[in-house]
Symmetry: C2
Subunit: 191 residues, 2 copies
DNA sequence: CGAATTTGTTACCGTTCAGTCCGTAATTAT
DNA sequence: ATAATTACGGACTGAACGGTAACAAATTCG
């Protein structure tokens, strides 16, 4: 009955994801968001609510884009667990160098920035890391060694998830591409 | 020749460390800093310069407190590499539950928050992670297996550092104490 | 004691923050 | 066409930001 939306909400969410991913929550101003989305504040506020809601939308967009892709790679790569994780790490390293800048992992960045006083964000992050953990566990279960030992599988899942997150944090400052590759190769030896 | 400083600079730096560690750089306001240190803005500005310098002082304080303690534990624990890392992880888990809140690792938090546009912070972070890597490598060298194979030692060092950092990020949201313990135990199997 | 110097405190500065109001343009239903 | 409804754009708001200026209290040296 009235004028339709002048922008694609999906595009806006992707732009939000990129800007919050690159700068974090606190360091991103509404000016940055306007520039990233190409929209005016008023349109953003009407559609999303407030800055915090935009951040949650960005996190959900990351979940749909990146976490889903990680799940796909871990699930669809044929062969044993090690091959699956190798494919995952290849993809991480490749997509890191694609974007040039080392943004790390939005999930890891958000976890590190998260204050205890933000239960909504904590919930989204917990759900996301839970999906990652499930995907890791399922990939491990491709090997009989892990399929038959739930305790080992859970422990190894947590170990791998920690190493994965740590890699994506360290790539922002301490590790160059070669160091990441080396750490990833060594990590695969423990799978 | 004049009135002496009315506060202990070391205490002030420790307070700065704690407040930036808990909240990050952007989310910490000068009001927070005044409350944490018990000092007024003017005293802080005169002594440290500006907020950014206070952050660097906080990072250096962390390096002197926490990184130095990690070096000490890795270096002075007797026995093979695994025992040394076990002691390190015990200490991490113990000190995490001591402070109640899960602040994670200041180094990891700062790395995740760091923007590429801050070379000074990047330098401090690189130096700190370098010290951690050196300490990890030295601890590994307690085993002949690692002492005699520099390539393996370097790769394993990076793997362990990534896992260590990842653990301390995930403890902020995704992992509870039991999950950390489990991941740490599994991590030790790869040493 | 008194001059010099530095600390600590209060008030203040311009800027930027997230968020809102309101007039205008665009679209649909009648 | 016209009325109703909605999106858009610019101007605006009060609060909080980081940072500074100016003054009073305290300490040391001559």
């Amino acid at each position: 009955m009235a004028r339709p939306l002048g922008f694609d909400p999906e595009d806006a969410r992707t732009a939000l994801m990129n800007v919050f991913w690159a700068r974090g929550y606190e360091a991103t101003s509404m000016q940055d968001i306007e520039a990233a989305t190409g929209l005016r504040k008023q349109s953003l506020y009407r559609y999303f609510g407030d800055k915090h809601a935009m951040y949650l939308a960005a996190l959900r967009s990351y979940e749909e884009c990146v976490v889903a892709e990680a799940e796909r790679i871990l699930g669809e790569t044929p062969g044993p667990a090690r091959a699956r994780f190798s494919a995952l790490l290849d993809w991480v390293i490749r997509s890191s160098s694609d974007t040039g800048g080392m943004r790390g992992c939005f999930l890891a960045n958000a976890s590190a920035e998260a204050s205890a006083a933000d239960p909504e964000t904590a919930e989204v992050l917990a759900a996301m890391s839970g999906r990652m953990a499930d995907a890791f566990g399922a990939a491990l279960a491709a090997d009989t060694k892990y399929r038959d030992d739930a305790d080992l599988r859970r422990a190894r899942t947590r170990h791998l998830l920690a190493a994965y997150v740590g890699l994506r944090v360290l790539v922002k400052g301490a590790f160059d591409a070669a160091a990441v590759r080396e750490a990833a190769d060594d990590l695969l030896l423990s799978v």
